[in-house]
């Protein structure tokens, strides 16, 4: 079922339709939140908050078929607001935050370690680089989609991806990397 149909149903209060939108776009929303915030736990909180905001503002979606872009703008704005709030509340530098390791002691230790390492490595990048590399490598977007969402050229998107990957490889080493065909 298309996003446009799900949005129209959700506007009428169809919970199943909205849940389908959540499942479909959760990872992309999370990727954007993580790119802005650099912290998995905060990104999760903001992602969930953004979906709640999306329901409240569902009537403002002018082009239901472009719901994803509209949602991700909400995520980005909420993330930036949260970032400002967090800066006022804490003095912890971004690259020392390993929420998975600190706040989820019961979770798989290896996964938590990887998560912490990735968060620290991502913190070395700027926000646009994080958005590009997460949307491309985590969410699987094409450069055309990334360029449209970030209002940059496809060439610039490729450039950011290359720079981000190089920086992450230097930081992480080869253990966390996989070989894929480039798009």
């Amino acid at each position: 079922m298309s996003d446009a149909t799900l949005v129209r149903r959700a506007r009428r209060g169809d919970a199943a339709a909205f849940e389908a939108l959540v499942r479909r776009h959760y990872r992309a929303a999370y990727a954007v939140a993580l790119a802005v915030l650099g912290n998995a736990m905060d990104a999760e909180d903001v992602t969930q908050d953004a979906f709640v905001r999306a329901v409240e503002r569902m009537d403002e979606v002018r082009e239901p078929e472009r719901f994803k872009g509209w949602l991700l703008q909400i995520v980005r704005n909420r993330s930036r607001n949260y970032l400002g709030y967090r800066r006022l509340r804490t003095t912890r530098p971004l690259d020392t935050v390993s929420a998975a390791a600190l706040e989820n002691p019961g979770r798989d230790a290896e996964r938590a370690e990887l998560q912490g390492a990735l968060e620290s490595a991502l913190a070395q990048l700027n926000e646009v680089q994080r958005e590009v590399v997460l949307l491309h490598d985590l969410e699987g977007w094409k450069h055309r989609e990334i360029a449209e969402f970030l209002a940059i050229s496809e060439g610039m998107s490729r450039q950011h991806l290359m720079t981000a990957r190089r920086a992450l490889r230097e930081r992480l080493g080869g253990g966390l990397l996989k070989e894929y065909s480039n798009d």
Partner: protein
């Protein structure tokens, strides 16, 4: 050309099924009141929309019936008769009413005669 994609699976929020389901459940719970309100609003609009057309149709029919009834009642009485009847009812002499209907201006003598005849 190949390139090394970074393996972000440790950060993938959907990779851990239970955890993802919890997140979806939290969102569902948080948006439930708003969705309920949307359904209720839709029902109110639906009810109004449902009643609006029959009401409009009934009002239209009532209007047509009223107009037709009025036309039937008024039709037998001619315009002249009804105006004469009104003049008589308020005590205006027939001759004076006639002048008024025809937009004629009598001379003073004719007016006096008409008034005397009426008395």
């Amino acid at each position: 050309m190949t390139d090394e994609r970074i393996d972000f699976s440790a950060l993938d929020p959907t990779a851990e099924g239970d955890r993802f389901e919890e997140a979806v459940g939290r969102i569902n719970a948080a948006v439930a009141p708003a969705l309920t309100a949307r359904r209720a609003r839709g029902n109110v609009f639906g009810q109004v929309a449902g009643w609006w057309r029959p009401l409009l149709a009934a009002a239209t029919i009532a209007g047509i019936v009223s107009a037709a009834t009025l036309a039937l009642v008024e039709a037998p009485a001619s315009q002249g008769e009804s105006e004469t009847g009104l003049a008589e009812a308020i005590g205006v002499p027939e001759q004076i009413a006639q002048w008024a209907r025809n937009d004629e201006l009598p001379n003073p003598a004719e007016l006096l005669i008409a008034l005397e005849e009426a008395q």
